[in-house]
Subunit: 338 residues, 2 copies
DNA sequence: TTGAAAGCGCTAACAG
DNA sequence: CTGTTAGCGCTTTCAA
């Protein structure tokens, strides 16, 4: 089967018997064109199935690509999937296309993705940065006018806008809630690596709440894993301690699921639990799961909005936007210690 | 702050005192360059922070963009989020970038997204097509060599590759499982619009199983909604029928959640349930949820693999790939009717 | 081993 | 109202 070449502007022009510029004028409604010419051009465009080449257009205009690049650690994490839909809800109206890549928690891969996006001349860069990576290499791009927005975690080595959850305050509220219900031994189920910004902030909030209540911080009550399974194991391990916790704070979505699984396996419905990040069906678990809910869609939308305002010329200094978390009471955090 | 122009190939060339072509040769390891020249070019590239402009490169080569376009109905649906990570796992190794857009179940929007992708000259197009849309307008592109792969549902009006779940067979097995456990009145909780391909196929599988068991099909037992809430309401309504179902098949992920919520609200732990599409925490629900699990990551990977083989010159006729579902027994489907 | 010229598809600037 | 020329940043072709 012969592979037909895609028609170009000049193909259309030739077909109609006008110059390329005239066709361009018709398509971009730029400058005056006689009704009849317009008509004939449009007809030829239809007939040939012509579609202007955006690459060529962007290049000629010497502008950035009308796309924004997004780097997330893992697309299949519902948190980031929802962040993406928040971003898209903002960018779509502006005719911006979304380029997405997963860093898979690998600094090399993150850098290579960012490199590709830069080579494509994206209009802006949104990223949930890898903790171990330095982002100083973006300094030149940023001062050349490329908007960079860090999402979920601040970046290292680069001053840029960021959009974060109220991690510390949220965790503090969650733990205070458990304390209010009489708990004195409260475990912390986090993720690994422990260097992750969100984990550190949430651990800080956990310690804040303990300190406010005059409770000692016990490292033995801090555990975690890489995934749901790891968090479930960690939960079960905490329960076998000599002086075990009567309540738990799980510090992110999969830790929350892991804690639920671990408690279910140990058949311990008496252990209170507050999760971080809402999870589906939290309401029908038994007991129903109390959580510190984040608002990932709002985070994505905020990040995109900031990037757009930068594109629109906002040159004010970099700022950090905090999206509030919300304690959603459903029951699991209100159990009393026995 | 002065916004610096990005350095170009000729900037680097000028800096080093060679021609643009020489710099190009160094960067692409194309043709002979003296070690010393190479050294000096590389140094200048580093110093200026030069990054070749991919748009210009693609254009000059007259090839497609090294990107593939993906249209999904809704990014925040974990099913599609997982499909995306499956796609990415395949494309990343090939240096392809992923362009993503949400159609939001709107035919206009789908078409505009596809239009944008085509204008960008993507190398391939993957999409979960809107049921109400005709995709005949892609015929010319396809015969011009653009790989098109439909995901999750076949497209309308266009012969193209597709990757689908074994919807009918999966539903049949799920319902047969309920029948095997003694159920004779089995409800179907689906999504709307009812024209959706997956719903139609799963309903067919449901009817297959009933027919095989000699059970009559009763339209009154078929209900559904647009989201979790709607499915929950539909579930509650089915339970109030004069001759209510003793078991349910929920036909997708949010219908499954809705059915779980509806049964929980009605406090009916005696009603058997088989969900379609696995959901998180299915194992710790009470009773634990039996599901017909799909494999969204495999679907994404298969779609990407097919697109790549087409790019590599595979001109065989369009084929439909079926990714098998798997009945995961956890308890909720094994309840006996009272 | 290196360079000059031409051109990918498009549009800005200027003529006509 | 319409056309011509030039050039965005890169690579191919051909020549030196």
């Amino acid at each position: 089967m012969p592979v037909a070449r895609r028609p170009t502007l000049s193909d259309v022009a030739q077909e109609v018997g006008v110059s390329a510029k005239t066709v361009s004028r018709v398509l971009n409604e730029d400058g005056p064109v006689s009704a009849e010419t317009r008509e004939r051009v449009m007809e030829a465009v239809q007939r040939l199935g012509f579609r202007p080449n955006l690459m060529a257009r962007h290049m000629r205009l010497g502008k950035s690509d009308t796309a924004i690049g997004l780097v997330v650690p893992d697309m299949s994490n519902p948190f980031f999937a929802t962040v993406v839909s928040g971003i898209e809800s903002v960018t779509h109206g502006r005719g911006l296309t979304l380029l997405i890549g997963s860093s898979a928690q690998d600094a090399e891969r993150e850098r290579s993705l960012v490199g590709t996006f830069l080579a494509r001349r994206v209009s802006a860069l949104l990223m949930a940065p890898i903790p171990s990576a330095d982002h100083g290499y973006l300094k030149a791009e940023r001062s050349a006018g490329l908007p960079v927005v860090f999402l979920d975690r601040p970046g290292t080595g680069l001053t840029a806008d960021s959009v974060l959850s109220s991690n510390r305050q949220g965790a503090r509220e969650g733990v205070a809630h458990l304390i209010r219900h009489g708990h004195r031994r409260i475990g912390f189920i986090g993720d690994t690596p422990t260097a992750l910004y969100t984990r550190r902030m949430r651990l800080r909030g956990y310690r804040d709440a303990l300190a406010e209540a005059g409770l000692a911080y016990d490292r033995a009550l801090v555990a975690g894993g890489q995934d749901v399974e790891g968090a479930a194991d960690a939960t079960e391990r905490l329960l076998t301690l000599a002086d075990p916790p009567t309540a738990l704070l799980a510090a992110n979505n999969f830790s929350s699921m892991g804690a639920v699984v671990g408690l279910a396996r140990a058949a311990r419905k008496d252990v209170a639990l507050v999760g971080f990040d809402d999870i589906p069906l939290a309401g029908v678990l038994e007991p129903a799961l109390t959580v510190v809910a984040q608002d990932p869609a709002a985070m994505g939308a905020a990040a995109a909005t900031i990037a757009l305002s930068r594109l629109d010329g906002d040159r004010s200094r970099a700022r950090s936007t905090e999206i509030p978390t919300r304690l959603v009471l459903r029951g699991s955090g209100e159990l009393r210690p026995r």
